[in-house]
Symmetry: C2
Subunit: 440 residues, 2 copies
Amino acid sequence: MIRDMLGERDFAALKNTLREMNPVDIAEELEELSDADAVRVFRMLPKDTAADIFVELSSDTQQEIISKFKDAEIGKIVGDMFLDDAVDFIEEMPAGLVSRVLANISAEQRNLINQFLKYPENSAGSVMTIEYISFKEHLTVSAAFDKIRREGIDSETIYTCYVTDAGRHLLGDVSVRTLLLAEPDAKVGDIMNAAVISASTTDDREEIANEFRKYGLLTMPVVDNEKRLVGIVTFDDVMTIQEEEATEDFEIMAAMSPSDEPYLKTSVWVLTKNRVLWLLLLMLSATVTGTIISGFEDALATLPVLVAFIPMLMDTGGNAGSQSSTLIIRGMALEEVALADIFKVFWKEIRVSVLCGGALAVVNFGRILLMNHDAMLALTVSIALFATVVLAKSVGCLLPMGAKKLKLDPAVMASPVITTVVDAGALLLFFVIAKALLGV
Amino acid sequence: MIRDMLGERDFAALKNTLREMNPVDIAEELEELSDADAVRVFRMLPKDTAADIFVELSSDTQQEIISKFKDAEIGKIVGDMFLDDAVDFIEEMPAGLVSRVLANISAEQRNLINQFLKYPENSAGSVMTIEYISFKEHLTVSAAFDKIRREGIDSETIYTCYVTDAGRHLLGDVSVRTLLLAEPDAKVGDIMNAAVISASTTDDREEIANEFRKYGLLTMPVVDNEKRLVGIVTFDDVMTIQEEEATEDFEIMAAMSPSDEPYLKTSVWVLTKNRVLWLLLLMLSATVTGTIISGFEDALATLPVLVAFIPMLMDTGGNAGSQSSTLIIRGMALEEVALADIFKVFWKEIRVSVLCGGALAVVNFGRILLMNHDAMLALTVSIALFATVVLAKSVGCLLPMGAKKLKLDPAVMASPVITTVVDAGALLLFFVIAKALLGV
């Protein structure tokens, strides 16, 4: 739409359209324009929404626009951003642009940004913003509304306000809903909710997302070591955190280094870099299974048909194990499964694996009997299969919990690692059982 | 905490504690009590929060409590629920209890519930609620506040209100923030936002969650076929939807039937049922690879060392393929990758696979040369490895997109299926290359 209007040079209509459109949609269309056009359109934006649109752009486009901006324009746009957005933006810029940006904003904003850049990655401090409304206890409801009207336009959310003492220590929260239903001369300290759920600046953002979901929160206050209110996390950031954390787990579980960038915006080089090290590591680990096979070469020479069952045993073991590991990893991420549940989990998986392994073994026995007409062979493979499923599911639930115990990310113990570990076990079981039953 | 107070029979203190605690935390503790104790504590709850706590309980506990309740108690607790919670609750109850519940609520609520039960699973209609506030256009801001004060206590969220015409058609939305900043005698029709993002009752809940995240929404209105406002979806439900949809994808991608229940609350029987069919299907598919191996038994007899490389080739192919399929499946779930991008995706994966496959082949060549001192063998395995990685990544990106094209869930084309498909290709490539280069 924007591209067409630009082509027709209908700038008056374009300006009107830009005023009506949602900032997110404008940003999406700006991404499709050439750099020069993007900057041109950007300068036509209504001054009060330019910053909202800017923060929705990809960092490549942000960089293009900023590098073409005059100093005053930079100061204006960054000055209009919410603090958390400004910090996110600066973190993605190259050093040269960062110093130009910092040189053109107010000393106060510069100090705040520098302070926020120090919070550890993925901590509450790194995702919070400081645009919230706070009251002192003795304030009346009508004075509170005056304050909301005065400051509200600049606050990221006005619907939950916070009550603090003279030392900025958090005392409670009060929602606009409560304020609306209260008498105008009531004191906020009397109607506030003192049992407020808060986070510390160093808390992990995934834990915060879990609390938001559990309690259905709109915002959560963040306090420092001395319990002083320093910021808030809002629900819209939490939705993004939830998706990013899930995506991260999907990627780690498929043996990749996690990445924040959308697939289509990631270069071939970065995609390769994120994948190749894990593939190498797993490839080299898989040579252990090769050594096991070499150790049983005599058995395979005596009964070559055994080789044909290796892929099925390995694949079934891998699948059975990754079913278990996936449920446990996901359960721990959502805090539905705790380390203390390890015996409960193990006992459950043992019973499930006996049932699954039994069913598979019976079907497999029938299939081999039908196709190979060799009951002893069918029995050998089926016993090996049953043992493999039980082994795989045990490993599949224990490895992620062990990783958690060692303070590693449980997600690394997913399908690829389980497969590599279970392969070796499955082959050993297979050969030992074959030696015992078939005398090879 | 509740258990201890119950043990000490300190009921006055317990009642006080129940008044202070968060409903979610009370529900969590009720789950740990015996059924009789849970019912006893439940009857001590403040009347205005009992329904909030009830909807947080697991369906097992809900069933226990309801079955011990008198008719009047049932009517009261269900009558106090938000409509979407009442519908969720009734969907999980056995038929006998459902009819008892429906017999004890008002005719109006019964009709609404019956109507909501008809919306398709996972549709906007099935997750929306009807507790919203709407205004007519000509209403003044001060009259709007009066209406919010009157109805607000019963509305799931009051912060975004909706403007409709006489026929209940949606005209726009207006936030409490806008109302607070407006003149008391302004008309809501003049200050409302007409560019409101809405959903239709039949829209998929995953799409709605994506819109919430994209636009940072607090609520979204839901309209019927005639564009009449029939309900709203709120951000707290969307957080749950996001997690449930991600969990569903994790489960499908690990070859399981998806389930809503937390792991520890799922019985061994249900866990087995969710897993065993997929395992069986994949096990039977994996026998294709067995047939391929049998077809090349002569080659293996001539050069038994080849067998030792089969697990490494299969595992690496599986891992390389599931890296690609995971990124594409996740990208499509988040609407970052569309079907129209198929050529872009394929070309990207080809380049990545050439780089990854090349690196793996070089390392593998070195390793085999070092351990087996056979350059031709090393070359054979490395070429097969390279070809396997390219094949795996092509299959890994094309299968999920193909599934989407066929209107299947792309998540079924994850690791287990890719592994099964790629195994056969990897073995064929390996044997054909070995025949050509080693003359076996």
